[in-house]
Amino acid sequence: MTPVLQIKNLQVSYYTDAGRARALDGVDLTLTAGEKLGLVGESGSGKSTMALAMMRMIKPPGRIEGGQVIVDGTDLMTLSEQTMLKARLSKIAYIPQGAMNSLNPVTRIGAQMVDAIKAHDEGSSRADIDRRCKLALESVDLSSSVFKMYAHELSGGMKQRACIAISILLKPKVIIADEPTSALDVVTQRQVMETIDRVQKQIGAAVILIGHDMGLMAQFVDKVAVMYTGRIMELSSVRDMFTDPKHPYAQALIRSLPNLENKGVFNGIPGMAPALLQLPGGCAFHPRCSKVMENCKTQRPPSTNISGGRILECHLYSEKA
């Protein structure tokens, strides 16, 4: 299978009064069509930065320092500003985090779909555009009457589905969903996730799902990537990640999930996530790591492939390889 998405050595920094913070520190990732990846990690680990970097929407004081994001054969980083506008939504689409507030409150939902299509192909007739919008609404289980409604007339779940409908209007190759369910109740969360799952299958796009909720994620994605301080520490299939995590950080993260067997025991991860302004040398996790070794403190571990298509960034495994 040829990959639809390849990220190579992506780097993003934020420049603040107190210095330079590396928010994304050399990320590599490959996805094939129809594949679903879950991106997890603590707050500030770089998940949302990664989403914004892929859309090329990092704002000052942030800056993309280097790397490639290749979607369907084109490196987005090399595109001109104008071509990048066209690439958004048609090649790579984004489902926003704050769906409650992601729709313009003063124009109709329909107008917000029509302007999206018009921005990408000027040739279509108005009737054709309207038909495509209504089709998209129906494919996310919204009635076509939503076309004429305003955001405040919709419930939270409906707003999020309207956003999904907008993001699939142009059948993108890659869809990034940034915590798409964070403000919704549990039942609606499930419906929204099922909607994403279904439309993704329809158009055969690769999906990157960013979130905190490991349980919800486990049911929908094929692979999970664990991020820490702007690096991907471990990338494994869902089954491997939940039953046999390899990286000490991933192990700690999975162990910290509540489960029925050891009810009432809460296993946190000792220490705190380091400030990005001054990362520890070597492996950024070493001050909190229970299996820390001498070279962890000085050398950054290389990215290593191990059996089962798993990728790890840890000296425990790089030495064996």
Partner: protein, 299 residues
């Protein structure tokens, strides 16, 4: 099992002064405003110490003189040295501004606190009065008040009082809104649960957190007071004998200064007022940015 190190790597924080300096560099408005204000203060204090202040009043110097070495800003029709008049005028402007600004803010803080903290019918009354008075143009009412006073009685102090009479609603509503949100915050509930009295909570918990808003309100009030007193003076409702900047402009217009080629007479007080109001506006904007991080610039 190896021991887990919980130590955080030390972050080297730049010193406080460097941070303030860097902030000022980004918040240029605040820096420039404070700088202009400082220059004005220096000018006024220096002038008060060196000039003969009697020359700010009529028939003390030769009249209608254009700017020269002897009279840097010229003299007016009534025989006042406009340089000295400006010094005294700036002092009086500052007096009105600080007095009315301080008084207005104080009334606002007290009423806002009472209204928000105790709520109930007190809140209803205070809020209601503010709402009814808001659509009434304060300056027009001030015209009536100032016009009803005997012209001989009008002094800098009555002027400040007239301005304050209708200028306390703004700060009252601002402080009220802030106290209302603060009342809901956790630290206030904790203080209440731990048995602290109302006064204790107000002075030790709420007031310190309100300081930035009070400061911003104060600067805003000073700006407004200078502005309002200028409008009253320029309509001839100020203390006519005092060389208040607005009075000087009013007198100049009354004598058709531009028609008569005495351009320096209204121009210099106008420029001085532009500097005063401009610096206050800049500081006001800067304070806004400080008190309300949402409008802080991203670059």
């Amino acid at each position: 099992m190896t021991t887990v190190s919980l130590a955080q790597p030390e972050i080297i924080q730049p010193s406080r002064l460097t941070l303030i300096f860097r902030y000022m560099r980004r918040n240029k408005g605040l820096a420039v405003g404070l700088f202009i204000l400082l220059l004005l203060v220096i000018f006024t204090v220096y002038g008060m110490a060196t000039a003969d202040l009697k020359h700010a009043y009529p028939i003390t110097v030769k009249s209608k003189q254009p700017p020269s070495w002897e009279f840097p800003l010229g003299t007016d029709f009534f025989g006042r040295d406009l340089y000295v008049a400006m010094i005294v005028g700036l002092k009086e402007t500052a007096l009105i501004g600080l007095l009315a600004g301080g008084l207005g803010t104080m009334v606002g803080v007290v009423l806002g606190f009472i209204s928000a903290y105790f709520g109930g019918w007190l809140d209803m009354i205070i809020k209601g009065i503010c709402q009814i008075l808001t659509p009434i143009p304060a300056l027009l009412i001030q015209i009536i008040i100032a016009g009803s006073l005997d012209k001989r009685d009008v002094t800098i102090y009555t002027m400040a009082f007239v301005v304050v009479l209708l200028a306390w609603m703004g700060p009252t509503l601002v402080i009220r809104a802030q106290v209302l949100t603060m009342k809901e915050r956790q630290f206030v509930s904790v203080a209440k649960l731990s048995g602290m009295g109302d006064l204790g909570i107000i002075f030790s918990e709420i007031l310190p957190n309100l300081l930035p808003f009070i400061a911003a309100s104060f600067v805003n009030q000073v700006f407004y007071a200078v502005f309002a007193s200028f409008y009253l003076a320029v309509l001839g409702l100020g203390p006519l004998r005092e060389p208040l900047l607005g009075n000087t402009i009013w007198a100049a217009q009354g004598q058709s200064a531009f028609f008569n080629n005495w351009w320096w007479w209204p121009l210099f007080p106008a420029l001085a007022l532009v500097l005063v109001l401009g610096s206050l506006a800049l500081i006001n904007m800067g304070m806004d940015e400080l008190a309300n991080p949402r409008v802080r610039k991203t670059e």
